[in-house]
């Protein structure tokens, strides 16, 4: 008859189990900790901002030195700026990514382009603002306008769109390309009919990530297109515009006696705008993914 191992053997195992339990608890707690700040921020914003939200707040012009009335021109402005950024950065970014992923030979020039994109992503946003002021506002004479601001935001957004799109294109199995070519397709036919439809989900993610960042930025539009106070809607792309992030900066620091609800109401609208874009992207993405079969 075999003897059950003495307790002296059991205790190291027990020790290991206890350590394992402690380890699990610590990492779980840390994981939960990362969720806390975002919840705290959201609750805080909703708590302070929700009372300000009304139909008038969303659709009226600012009044009384922005201390009352609504933020309609800032909402419209941010929409225009995001749209303008999309118009410039999406075609350019996706085309660049297609070039880099499908056509570019592995040589020094390609490595230089990649290096440039990585560095572009690391440039502080205020630098883009100054660059936009110099190039678009003054040199190209577009003035302080939606056009200048959109172009500036586009440059800032490009690296995000290029790198995520390139990743999405590379995720399409190489075998699909070989099969398509073996059936007599050209490279471009293969890209258009097989590679692009299969990478839509990833590309959309990149586009929205980039545009979200553009929608929330203040520094790049500070010198290039944002108006301090403009109680009318812009008439053309060459008009300046109010925009939510800059408006928020203005009413938080530049206007004395500002009711706190208006500040947090504006924050809430900006956050909702970004969350809305996220939701749209998620829906588009899951639809594209549902069609994917491999």
């Amino acid at each position: 008859m075999t003897k059950i191992p003495a307790s002296g053997n059991a205790s190291p195992v027990l020790k290991q189990l206890i350590f394992q339990q402690i380890g699990f608890s610590v990492v779980t707690a840390l994981a939960i900790l990362t969720v806390l700040p975002i919840i705290a921020v959201l609750v805080y914003i909703i708590y302070l901002g929700a009372p300000a939200i009304s139909w008038e707040f969303l659709t009226a012009m600012p009044q009384n030195g922005m201390r009352s009335g609504g933020i309609w021109p800032a909402i419209v402005g941010t929409f225009y700026l995001t749209l303008g950024t999309a118009i410039f950065s999406v075609p350019l970014g996706v085309a660049s990514a297609i070039y880099l992923s499908e056509y570019a030979p592995e040589n020094r020039l390609t490595r230089l382009i990649r290096l440039a994109i990585i560095n572009l992503a690391g440039v502080p946003s205020v630098v883009y603002g100054l660059f936009g002021l110099g190039l678009f506002v003054i040199f190209l004479n577009f003035g302080t306008s939606i056009l200048s601001a959109s172009l500036t935001l586009s440059i800032m957004t490009l690296p995000v769109i290029i790198s995520t799109t390139e990743e999405a294109l590379r995720a399409v199995p190489q075998s699909f390309r070989v099969v398509s070519v073996s059936l007599g397709a050209t490279k471009w036919q293969t890209i258009r009919r097989i590679v692009l439809p299969q990478s839509t989900a990833g590309i959309l993610t990149g586009v929205v990530l980039g545009l979200e960042r553009a929608a929330g930025e203040t520094a790049p539009i500070l010198f290039t297109g944002a108006a301090f106070f403009l109680p009318r809607l812009p008439n053309s792309p060459l008009d300046a515009t109010m925009a939510l992030p800059y408006h928020l900066f203005v009413i938080s620091t530049q206007v004395p006696g500002m009711p706190i609800q208006i500040q947090y109401g504006t924050v809430l609208v900006l956050v909702a705008f970004v969350v809305l874009m996220n939701i749209i992207a998620t829906i588009l993405r899951s639809r594209a993914r549902a069609r994917r079969s491999w």
Partner: protein, 252 residues
């Protein structure tokens, strides 16, 4: 008997030096099944991919020699490679349907070639699926994803996709290596039917398969073509000792 394909002094080297070919000479007859046998890494896949210039996509360092199909030099840099690939279809070792519907997988090559007529497309798809002996199984669900098919059906779909272009030559790179015996038998019976109309070159996934379906056999060893002869000669009276040893299972 006419030689459909003539390969003379053909050598190919990959940039990393793997699976190269050395001085291959072979005359492949038309409307027959020619099997390429030999141990893995001997250059069979590379050899197959010469004919539709699929090696162009790989990292090839150097190509020497002549490859003539119907007396046309297909290594000519000026050659219309797209037209060549329509004339020479390939089926790969794993079933690789495109991420499209069953119908679209078969019509893909035709549409790429510029066919817009719906009736012609429908007829082409049906004909190709029938030749690949798949039509009866899929006619009710042509617009389902190709990935809803079983592995064996997927591989017959890949064969149909190739046949839809009405090629002259069909290349098969171990087309049944991922299939069960029943699915394998179906593919083999299709091939035996097809050889009346097509020149077929196959790298079978084992030597027995070559014995079952081939008319001619080429034995490849470490990038060299050792022996080429009728299937009877190779299996009963091989000239080269290495062929003898491989056939009898001394190495492999």
């Amino acid at each position: 008997m006419t030689d459909k394909i003539i390969v003379e002094n053909f050598s190919l080297t990959y940039s990393d030096g793997t699976e190269s070919l050395f001085d291959v000479d072979i005359h492949i007859p038309g409307n027959k099944i020619t099997a390429l046998i030999g141990p893995a890494g001997g250059g069979k896949s590379t050899f197959l991919r010469i004919f539709n210039r699929l090696n162009d996509l790989a990292d090839v360092r150097e190509v020497r020699g002549n490859v003539l199909i119907d007396d046309v030099d297909i290594l000519d840099p000026e050659l219309d490679v797209i037209a060549l690939r329509r004339k020479i279809g390939i089926v790969f070792s794993r079933p690789l349907p495109l991420p499209l519907t069953i119908y679209q997988n078969v019509s893909y090559g035709l549409e790429i070639a510029g066919e817009r007529n719906k009736n012609k497309l429908n007829a082409g798809v049906e004909h190709a699926l029938q030749m690949a002996e798949l039509w009866e199984e899929v006619k009710g669900r042509l617009f389902d994803s190709a990935y809803s098919l079983s592995g064996g059906q997927q591989q017959r779909l890949c064969l149909a996709r190739t046949l839809a272009l009405e090629p002259e030559i069909i290349l098969l790179d171990e087309p049944t290596s991922a299939l069960d015996p029943v699915a394998t038998a179906k593919i083999e019976s299709s091939l035996s039917e097809l050889k009346n109309q097509y020149t077929i070159i196959i790298a079978p996934h084992n030597t027995q398969q070559a014995g079952r379906i081939a008319d001619y056999v080429a034995f490849f060893l470490q990038g060299r073509m050792i022996e080429f002869s009728s299937v009877e000669n190779i299996f009963t009276r091989p000239v080269d000792e290495r062929t003898q040893d491989y056939i009898s299972g001394k190495f492999g």
